[in-house]
């Protein structure tokens, strides 16, 4: 058994490396497994073939793949690492890495996907530090000092300076001349992911006041936190605050939504599952936005739909999928099922009318709610909806179906009901499909709760 709740993958900023996660790991304690990652040229890691952000993301993903256990994790990324994290998150949500479990990201004074705003003089100075082949002790100290609001404690400062000095000159130069100026925003796109962005008020280009403008479009769900008397080196300056935000994000995402068991997560991550399917499952696994703003229906209608969802597709306990929000998302995107009862208007209009009608008679008490539901299904007159009673019950059948499907499409629900057929379509994996079909049996690659394993020979071709 693993002895922690989840994993934190930490991507450091320019001049730092995996070791920069130490203060944070200390603050987080046993609960999280903190995995610091050395990007190319960081912490003694070798340089990459080129200086592109994509290549840095490849390195980060390889490290995550090597460490991933199928359970939930957050990306925590600082400065330059933030730009890499954006690409990493985009790749994880599209399924194009053998990893599953991304729950959100905590970004610390991150560099944005667009070219990083950087003062020319500052860039020139930082490049000048390379003149004698590498960063001297003095330069490293100056770099650290420039990036903090208050001097660091002696031991922290020594750590930080040592890491800066360990950074390869090539990677330093490449970030300043290539990586930071690259525009990867088109590849990153819009990431509908729970994200917290922390930044210092005494930071410059990547400070608290700049971040919303740089990132609100990339991460529509981002919460921006500004830290007073803080410069740019958040991992060293504010590890306690960062740890608190991580815990808070964890609580509102991983602990608030159904989780895919790690063994199932590993199967989704594995080469047995196709890229596109992995991406769909990854996106559906993301916890819903507690501040979800409906687009097809009104806030009041969403409230009614949530109340209905509680009765129609009950999810006892604290871990929940916001089924109503997901149905609103489908309605907004026009994802229908190809037909509707002839008596009803288009899906969105029907939802609006139907939900208003139900809201007008919705009782407070759960038992009475169930009675009302039974009467609607039976086609009894219950509301003054502008439809006849049969039409209301036909619409209500759509609602019941939409909510049930929204629930079941979530990978945690699929694991709960014992469906692993998503893992049968990848190329180059043989036997790609199922071999043992009998009751109570399973193939060796299937999760343990699905039956007794049968060892199989190769498929017939």
């Amino acid at each position: 058994m693993i002895g922690y709740d989840g994993t934190i993958y930490f991507l450091a900023g320019l001049g730092f490396g995996a070791a920069a996660s130490a203060p944070l790991a200390h603050c987080l304690g046993e609960r999280f497994h903190v995995v610091g990652i050395d990007l190319p040229g960081q912490g003694g890691a070798s340089d990459a073939a080129d200086g592109s952000v994509q290549t840095m993301a490849d390195v980060a993903l390889a490290a995550i793949e090597a460490e991933a256990d199928g359970g939930p994790f957050l990306l925590v990324a600082h400065s330059m690492g933030g730009k890499v994290a954006a690409l990493v998150a985009a790749r994880l949500l599209s399924g194009s890495a053998n990893v599953f479990g991304l729950a959100g990201a905590v970004l610390l004074a991150p560099s944005p996907p667009v070219p990083e705003p950087m003062d020319d003089d500052k860039r020139a100075l930082m490049l000048a530090w390379l003149a004698d082949g590498g960063l001297s002790e003095v330069d490293a100290r100056e770099f650290v000092a420039q990036n903090v609001a208050e001097p660091l404690r002696e031991s922290s400062e020594q750590d930080a300076v040592a890491q800066v000095r360990q950074t390869s000159p090539l990677s330093w130069k490449r970030w300043l001349t290539e990586g930071s100026t690259e525009d990867v925003s088109a590849v990153v796109g819009v990431l509908d992911l729970p994200v917290v962005v922390l930044a210092g008020e005494d930071d410059e280009d990547l400070g608290a006041s700049a971040q919303p403008r740089l990132l609100a479009g990339v991460y529509p769900r981002a919460r921006f936190v500004s830290l007073a008397e803080t410069g740019h080196l958040l991992p060293y300056e504010r590890p306690d605050e960062v740890a608190a935000e991580i815990e808070r994000l964890w609580q509102t995402t991983v602990e608030a939504s159904p989780q895919v068991p790690a063994e199932w997560g590993r199967l989704i991550a594995s080469g047995r599952t196709g890229t596109e399917e992995r991406g769909m499952l990854a996106r559906r696994a993301i916890a819903d936005d507690p501040h979800y703003a409906p687009r097809a229906i009104s806030q009041a209608q969403l409230t009614t739909l949530r109340a209905l969802a509680d009765r129609l597709v009950p999810q006892p306990g604290m871990r929940r999928i916001d089924l109503a929000a997901r149905v609103d998302g489908d309605l907004t995107a026009g994802r229908g099922d190809g037909w509707r009862p002839a008596e009803l208007p288009d899906d969105i209009s029907a939802y609006r009318i139907g939900l208003d009608a139900i809201a007008s008679v919705w009782p407070h008490d759960a038992e009475q709610q169930d009675t009302l539901i039974r009467r609607i299904i039976a086609g009894e007159p219950v509301t003054d909806a502008p439809w006849d009673d049969d039409a209301l019950s036909l619409w209500f059948e759509d609602v019941r179906n939409d909510l049930a499907r929204a629930w079941l499409a979530h990978p945690a629900s699929l694991a709960r009901v014992g469906y692993d057929g998503f893992a049968t379509s990848a190329e180059g994996v043989e036997p790609a499909g199922f071999v043992s079909l009998g009751a109570g049996l399973r193939d060796p690659w299937e999760p343990g709760d699905l039956g007794t394993p049968v060892t199989v020979s190769e498929a017939d071709e």
Partner: protein, 513 residues
Amino acid sequence: MNLDDMRTHADDDIVDVVIVGTGAGGAPLLARLAERGLRVVALEAGPNLGPKGFTNDEVGAPRINWMSERLSGGDAPTAFGPNNSGWGVGGGTLHWGAFTPRPDIRDLNLFTESGVGADWPVDHAELIRYVAEVERTIGVSGPNPYPWDPDREYLDPPVDRNAAADLMAIGCDRLGIRATDAPAAILSRARDQAHHGHRHASRNLGTIHQGERFGTKATTANTYLPAAVAAGAEIRPDSMVHGIERDSLGRISAVVYRHDGREHRQRCATLVLAGGGIETPRLLLNTGLANSSGQVGRNFLAHGGVQVWGRFDEQQRAYRGYPSALISEDFVRPDGVDFAGGYLLQSLGVMPLTYATALVRGGGLWGDDLMEALDSWRYSAGIGINGECLPAEDNRLVLSDEVDEWGIPRAIVAFSPGQNERAIDEHATATMTRILEAAGALGTRVLARTAHTLGTCRMSADPSMGVVDGDGRSHDIPNLWISDNSTFPSSLTANPGLAQLALSLRTADRMLR
């Protein structure tokens, strides 16, 4: 499928034949006509996805279904979308279940036998010769001997049985009901398909309705369509036909279609409609053509598809393996009943979201009952039917006032089962319940359902009774033909795909006469 090097034609070339649709009705005919040297163009409303474009995810999979809304009415509104319609190069065969019983002679002569329903103006022996040809071409696996037809021969052995098939076999055996491995257009042995390439042997996938990447399932896109293209046919995907033009003599002269947001007009000497049981009548009603009989849109047929599910101690997980691996034809004409026709039985495993929808819509479940039923899905095995549906004038397709994204009025389809359909349902439900109980089910659950979209442009010997003749040619317009499920005069107990592929070849041969 690969369309890169196909022969192409200009819009104002008068091609010999334009075919609307590339599913079970369109594709074999396209291949046959091209192989005989005709200049043929198929217009397909949906995309050309290719195997890698499919996904086994049920939410993503409707990219191979006709998702533009249809309106359903009547006592048993028909579910369309993933349940009932093809879209894309390959049509309905991209998502079909590939369950391929042969049409039974008694079903083709239902009216003569029972005084209700309709006879088919088609000779059974001739149809079966075409069926056998289709089976060879697409690769149908099945058992020898076939209990209900000892003369028949399947060239490939049956595919593996899954847990649901095992249970149905046990239950049938205990009750003295004959049941055997189902004929299926799933390869039990790999093959190289002419003009297509390698097709793998069955991978025991329960996800075949979502589209199948390995070519184990026959579709027209991995059989007839590549053969058609190799013989010089042109296939234009993303081309939605919405208009039909005629010359001064009233003969078809061109079709109008939308492609890439622009109107195109393809001239042709002959037109074949193969858009399926909904789109063909919709197009005819909208253009006002071929309807002197008033029969366009009438007699919409949907197979009885009731299911019974049993819950067992062990995990069945019948989403593994070919979903309908067992068949019984013992009830094609059950003894001592007061209904006409009968039904086929098939064992069932289904995908999770499909099952959820069946529980909600067909079983009326919600709340804790629904969640409990979903939790016991993995312990469940089902049996379903394909039951006869008699034609009824009022089960019909009409046009609504609302238009779709192409500006065509949407179809409104009303369907109410009649006395005969209800009696079949009841009989079948009792039979399936008995089988599951005999197999040791701890409990059973009935889920109501219908399947397939047939009728609506039926064939008839008498021009006042139907839209096309027994060859598929319009009674009204000599250079207009229909080759799709809309021509079925009655539903048959056999599932319609195989019969449709065979009828398509037959219509092609009639056109070549």
